[in-house]
Symmetry: C2
Subunit: 209 residues, 2 copies
DNA sequence: CTCCTGATCTTGACGCTGTCATGATCATTC
DNA sequence: GAATGATCATGACAGCGTCAAGATCAGGAG
């Protein structure tokens, strides 16, 4: 037995524990199901441990089935990352709507950024560079990332004291700051309790002033 | 032929193109040689493509030889990352020494951070989280990272206008800002030419004010 | 209805990976 | 000079991503 993988997925009539009691043959909604499986495995086992075969297994499908919906593993990951950017933009906007003035909105967008990263560490890692070189290759991904940044840019432009210089430069500065904070917290390089604070949100709230 | 790897390295008397015309059997300086090989491959092919077997091949040694000097692949990568943090701290200090006052020293340390990341993108990626979960496991790595941050902390503490609040919080803010800038540039999320600037150094210089 | 076509899913195979188990070689100490 | 521990090599294994080729199904044309 050189290869043959022993058992990659259950037979078409078994009930796998993970996600899907397979329909007879065609799945019907395999593409979104694969993205869901990937996200679940991502937060369970981390980005390094995420394999295309495991994603297919969890969706109750053969290891090659994903190739009918994604060009390769990176394309699947890019789709997951795209979804991540959309959610980031959405939660940022939601948080900003509860702020009284422009300054508070900018702060809220920053806190939202850090909170999102803390709540979805592996997804955040994937969103920024988890795909190695092919990071800027995917068009939908680029658009979603740009939209997410646009939220910060708009919030920054509304605060006169901040956007004194070139508005875009100010927005980039704000983005870089919250992004760096998110990354350092995410990787454990800094920890909220080292500063007597409970969680990432408290630290972000304290620093963004 | 199920396995047997065909040809992992040249025989003990061949001359591989890469790095080492092997001494007869014992290498003598294999540990640093492996770190050198890893760094070379890192910048040539990127972090994702770096395999322990390729590192061994380049050092002119069998695939199992590294295990006599490192517990596993992550331990090798941790050693490379540790070296990276030492160099980062060293180049930061070097740049700071050419600055006239405290404020300029802080700025210089920030520019040095971004320039280092731009000059060693894959190494920088490895230094921050390229090892997945085991990121905080290695003692030497933790110490080297702490030392690198200490450079920023010291520079920040010397600037009264900056360290008005809790000094450590101010230092973290400075770190987060330059780190985020380095990451965003590194991953291509922002590009200097989008702001009419030539390179990462120019952008960092512009923003750090 | 039958037949065909294209989409969807599966299985086989290949070379690559990290690493365990085991064997070979060497430098050093008794 | 023999023993021993450090160093290096080879065999083997399961898992990975993905190419190639076969099986199955749904829908429309005749």
């Amino acid at each position: 037995m050189t290869d043959s993988d022993i058992k990659d997925g259950p037979g078409p009539s078994a009930a796998p524990p993970g996600e899907a009691a397979r329909q007879p043959y065609h799945h019907g909604e395999l593409r979104p199901a694969l993205i869901r499986s990937a996200r679940a495995l991502l937060e369970e086992d981390g980005l390094e441990a995420l394999s295309l075969r495991a994603v297919a297994r969890r969706a109750g499908v053969s290891r090659q089935a994903p190739y009918h919906h994604f060009a390769d593993k990176h394309a699947l990951l890019a789709a997951v990352a795209t979804e991540g950017f959309r959610e980031l933009a959405a939660t940022s906007l939601a948080r900003m709507q509860q702020a009284p003035d422009a300054r508070a909105r900018l702060n809220a967008s920053g806190v939202a950024y850090v909170v999102f990263a803390a709540a979805n560490p592996s997804l955040f890692q994937l969103m920024f560079g988890g795909l190695g070189g092919r990071f800027n290759q995917d068009e939908a991904l680029n658009a979603a990332r740009k939209d997410a940044f646009a939220v910060i840019r708009a919030a920054s432009a509304d605060v006169p004291a901040v956007s004194r210089g070139t508005p875009d430069l100010s927005a980039v500065a704000a983005w870089a700051f919250v992004h760096g904070l998110a990354e350092l917290l995410n990787k454990g390089a800094i920890q909220p309790r080292d500063f007597g604070l409970a969680d990432a949100e408290a630290l972000a709230d304290q620093l963004i002033r």
